[in-house]
Symmetry: C2
Subunit: 354 residues, 2 copies
């Protein structure tokens, strides 16, 4: 039996899995809510998406997703406030970036209402799945992949758009020790590094695994030509504080235009935290560590919000970050999560009530 | 009911689709044989592969292939000679390269016997699907993708290995007009360009589409730092003949170590065709075109074998290749296909009889 919410057709699951879930001990992205949003592109257009039970996908072995990596994704979160109201954080920016990624990967762009109205309907159907506990949230994963068939190396003629959700706890626990990469690279000039393309992530696994074997948790990516300029931290943007100035690299065709990154910059501006958006060289960071002006480093992204870095490795030497009072990272993390969870005013207009 | 060939379990399809196939008018990679080889990596090891009916694959929406592009593939062909015997071309090199790709993408390496014995069993079961007509062959697509689940950006714990086959005609028809790319790039230094990783192909679609809109069929990739050195032609390696010398770029972490490419170099050596493996600059090629010393350009790869290039575009100017007698491309193509199809001696030991 199907119903409708805001013109989105709803096919409800016959049973719920929610009683199996321990909401007090959630890991990240391992249990999935009862429903998902499902849309299909065929015959030259995106068909209306539906909320359907979360269930397996069936594909021909020649589906292009298996062969040519034509896939993109987004990540955002839904939060409950004390009243039980549900909020998203800048979801239109996710939709816009999804389409920026789509264009670069030759995937047809998705209409705004398929994303926003579909997501709203999905969250209403799976309202009970949104965690209420501090530090937990409903991680939301919109993604599009090539479901059309054939071995010819060219764009598919059919695509599948899904939003799946997973009640989740923290992405990382504790502080990160990172390795400044001097051999491998994440992206090329003129490549797809600015897109949330699946292939960008698979390419990071092996270098990250090598770093883990050396005792680090993540890699700091550098430019592929000289390995002298700092680009991203694992799958996050990176911020570096030298004395009282917060610095992050400019976005480019190699660097993801992170929503947490740009929110941090707007908060810094409003709170008169000195900040610079400019290229940061490894030499500068090492020098700053040696002369004591390096105060903080942290990664910033939706999944992990703000992840403090405790030390970085560079050419066989480890450099510890100092323990400081008045950390920008802690302050910015509190400010962002208070806005996200409706604990503070939102002068930026970022919160989006469902 | 299941049987066995060389210790590979065979589950035969109950009906065959072969009567629907017009073997006189085959396109590339659009119809698929009755069976496929299917292997699964789980619990820390590759399970024995089986020949099963070619049928849809079912995956959880959180399977990492959809999100993180963790996939690799290979391409080779099976040929029938006049006696009806079946031959492959250097298949062990495909297995070795599959594992080189696997390592870079953090995918567990596949045992040789899973690939070779599995492929042999598959080809015996689908023997009738191998085209007999000149210029046609059975295109063979081995691939591995992340079938383990979860939204965490890290390698999967389960993988699926499949060999699917498609009776196929020519990949390209006629000569190619190509555009020397000056904006977009295929791969980074320290990236995954040398691997047959799915994501490398998706990133090429949009620049190729832009080139097609300008009247070209393929892009000639250049290095991402200067766009001055020639790297690959679409999804092929590239060869350039200046006067009587055949030139191709060295393999690197950005360039695929093509099996057709290295076979051409070995044939050139044995036939005393002067050749050089060195960096080729765009300036050199443009100058050679202007002074008449540029004789030929062609792409080389398994799917298309050798694809002659009729013209290249560079910075809004088109440069035509001359029509010449004694083309190296034609001569090398005949030599390779004669070896592949058992029409000539194989002093290199490349042919592999099933």
């Amino acid at each position: 039996m199907s119903t409708e919410i805001n013109n989105i057709e709803i096919q409800k699951a016959t049973t719920s899995k929610i009683s199996n879930v321990d909401f007090d001990n959630l890991s990240f992205g391992k249990v999935f809510s009862d429903h998902m949003l499902l849309g299909v592109y065929k015959e030259g257009k995106w068909q209306a998406p539906k909320v359907v039970p979360y269930e397996p996908i069936t594909l021909d072995p020649s589906a292009k997703i298996f062969h040519y990596g034509q896939s993109i994704f987004e990540g955002l979160k839904a939060y409950k406030d004390a009243n039980g109201d549900t909020f998203l954080f800048r979801p239109l920016d996710n939709w816009k970036r999804l389409n920026i990624s789509a264009k670069r990967l030759s995937i047809p762009e998705l209409p705004e209402e398929h994303f926003i109205e579909g997501l709203k309907a999905l969250l209403q159907v799976d309202d009970e799945w949104i965690p209420k506990k501090d530090g937990s949230s409903l991680y939301i994963r919109p993604f599009i992949f090539a479901s059309g068939n054939g071995f010819h190396a060219s764009p598919a003629d059919e695509y599948t758009f899904i939003i799946a959700t997973a009640p989740s706890g923290a992405y990382f626990s504790g502080q990160l020790k990172v390795l400044i990469e001097q051999t491998y690279s994440r992206s090329a000039n003129g490549g797809v590094g600015f897109a949330k393309a699946g292939g960008n992530y698979a390419g990071q696994f092996y270098p990250t695994q090598l770093a883990v074997e050396k005792g680090y948790q993540q890699v700091i990516w550098t430019d592929d030509t000289t390995h002298e300029y700092i680009e991203e931290a694992g799958a996050m943007n990176i911020f570096i504080r030298i004395n009282d100035t917060l610095i992050t690299g400019p976005t480019s065709d190699r660097i993801l235009d992170g929503i947490t990154r740009k929110s941090i910059l707007e908060i810094a501006k409003s709170e008169n935290i000195p900040f610079e958006v400019r290229k940061i060289s490894v030499t500068e960071v090492v020098e700053a560590s040696k002369n004591g002006s390096l105060k903080e480093m942290f990664g910033a992204g939706t999944a992990a919000v703000i992840s403090p870095i405790s030390a970085f490795g560079y050419k066989d030497t480890d450099y510890d970050l100092p323990k400081i009072a008045n950390s920008y990272g802690e302050r910015l993390k509190k400010r962002i999560t208070d806005i996200q969870t409706n604990k503070s005013d939102d002068s930026f207009g970022w919160r989006y009530k469902i």
